[in-house]
């Protein structure tokens, strides 16, 4: 397989079981716990890791986050940074790790995200333009932004509420195959999703992710080193990133997002087309996000996502191009910024052939997407394994 990325692979993964509530848990403990799991999975000792990528606002630590995390972990990395791309932070870490390795700054990078859900956590002060120019009119939080995106998509293409709800139903169906998922044992069909309370029209409650505590960690290293580990190396073949705006009012388009150029770049580097991809691991904070991503990936024409999904045979492991077999965040739960990394971790499992009761046959390539803010921060990755 030819591709244009440096020779880098994912050699370890870690994941915490989602929890609706934690009491007095320290975020650093969660991050260290999941990082240790990833290092064990990769067959590495802590001293083998010389790079560290973390998310912003790590609980108690508003500034100097990488140093605080490294100190807590007993690490002295030669590359350390924050990746602050909202839900795109996880995938955004993977190519940054590859770039740092290619630049000779380190050989093995720990990429870790997670958060607690302690009931009394104070919220950080917020003085950005969205706070000044959206909140006073009764619009605060992501639900409103994605409702506005979904309404615009519906109006432009005439899609029905059931068209979008099938995405949540598919995610719930996949969650039945994943014992870690917060909605394992709790399927929901299209009628149940449409009968759930309207939160911000046209978004129903069950079209929105459930916030949970949790954590995800990934080890990125050279292919050579990964080959000495216990698992088949999952290589990074392509990456793309694009940031277009922050507040939804400033979006250049309400129906197509920055994932469109990001996916095109990632596929171009990987020297693949979207039809070549065996597994679609698509960021799904809301149903509309998956609909827009299917269209932005070029799987179908704008407005045709629902027909495409039906022709695809749904989203499960038996579908033509399976989507979010871990349940997606809609079925697994959204462990804060680690939610975006669940899509990386599931792609690694599928490509290793370790997805147990939800394994896709002959899974050799995967597209992973990350999305942050108001469909405004985008990262796409193409991951693959050698035949």
């Amino acid at each position: 397989m030819r591709h244009l990325m440096p020779n880098v692979a994912i050699s370890g993964i870690g994941e915490l079981k989602p929890q609706r509530r934690t009491d007095g848990v320290n975020t650093m403990d969660l991050l260290l716990r999941v990082s240790a799991e990833a290092a064990r999975d990769a067959g590495l000792r802590p001293s083998d890791i010389d790079g560290l990528l973390v998310g912003p606002q790590v609980g108690e630590t508003p500034q100097h986050v990488p140093a605080a995390v490294a100190e807590y972990f007993g690490m002295q990395p030669t590359m350390a940074n924050v990746v602050d791309l909202g839900g795109a932070s996880g995938p955004g870490m993977i190519w940054r790790a590859a770039a740092a390795i290619a630049a000779g700054q380190c050989e093995t990078v720990l990429c870790v995200l997670g958060n607690h859900r302690n009931p009394t956590e104070p919220r950080s002060p917020n003085r950005n333009p969205a706070r000044e120019f959206d909140t006073p009119f009764g619009a605060s939080g992501a639900n409103t932004s994605y409702a506005l995106l979904m309404q615009a998509h519906m109006a432009a293409y005439g899609c029905s509420a059931a068209d979008y709800a099938q995405i949540a139903a598919g995610a719930r169906a996949n969650a039945q195959l994943n014992p870690m998922a917060i909605f394992h044992g709790k399927p929901a069909d299209i009628e149940e999703i449409l009968a759930s309370p309207m939160v911000a029209s046209p978004l129903h409650l069950l079209e929105i992710v459930m916030p949970v505590a949790g954590g995800e960690a990934v080890i990125v290293t050279t292919v050579d080193r990964a080959l000495r580990g216990p698992h088949r190396p999952v290589e990074l073949w392509g990456a793309g990133e694009k940031v277009t705006h922050r507040a939804v009012s400033q979006a250049p388009s309400l129906t197509s997002g920055p994932l469109k150029p990001a996916i095109a770049r990632a596929l171009g580097q990987a020297q693949l087309t979207i039809r070549d991809i065996d597994f679609l691991s698509l960021y799904d904070c809301y149903t509309i996000m998956v609909a827009a991503t299917i269209e932005d990936a070029g799987l179908c024409a704008p407005g045709q996502f629902a027909n495409w999904l039906r022709e695809n045979g749904g989203m499960g492991p038996e579908a033509r191009q399976p989507i979010n077999t871990h349940g997606g965040q809609l079925g697994f739960g959204q462990p804060d910024l680690a939610g975006g990394m669940t899509h990386v971790v599931e792609a690694v499992r599928q490509l290793r052939g370790q997805a147990a009761g939800r394994q896709i046959r002959n899974c050799m390539s995967a597209l992973v997407t990350g999305n942050g803010a108001t469909m405004s921060e985008a990262v796409a990755l193409v991951l693959g394994v050698q035949a």
Binding site: R127, P129, R131, E132, F133, D134, T135, P136, F137, G138, A139, S140, G141, N143, T144, A147, L148, L149, Q151, A152, A155, P197, M198, V199, A200, S201, P202, L203, A247, V248, S249, Q250, L254
Partner: protein
């Protein structure tokens, strides 16, 4: 929406010296936004320099107050609890005739609103502050 918006206890704008003219104009019943004297483009939200050409040439001008509803949402579960008394209410993205888009409170019935509706500026008391809202344009 049956509640008087003026009586809500909700967060207001976090204005500063740069953005204050926008909010003060709304209080006086006018929609003012910035326009760049160098590239002639209109700008929203307020900036110190033009985000289109980076010239230090922005000036405040009165906008037409006309716009088109690019998208909307009927809010049933607000992000801020102060808004619960007003549910269901409508927020929307207003594409101003001058070009920029702003988010605003839309003074329409929740069951009588559509993408593409023509709108006009309507200063409205929300939580004791006069804010730049929009209503359907009188025909």
């Amino acid at each position: 929406m049956t509640v008087d918006l003026a009586n809500l206890s909700v967060p207001g704008p976090t204005a500063n010296s740069l953005t204050a003219p926008f909010w003060q104009a709304a209080e006086a019943g006018r929609l003012m936004i910035q326009r760049c004297c160098a590239c002639d483009k209109w700008v929203f939200y307020p900036r110190a320099i033009c985000p289109h050409c980076w010239a230090d040439a922005l000036e405040w001008q009165t906008a037409s107050g006309k716009g088109r509803l690019k998208s909307f949402s009927v809010i049933w579960k607000p992000g801020h609890p102060g808004w619960i008394a007003a549910t269901p209410y409508v927020v929307g993205l207003v594409e101003l005739a001058e070009g920029p888009t702003m988010l605003s409170h839309i003074l329409v019935q929740a069951n009588d609103v559509a993408v593409g509706d023509p709108l006009s500026f309507a200063s409205t008391n929300i939580g004791g502050r006069i804010l730049p809202c929009f209503a359907r344009e009188a025909t």
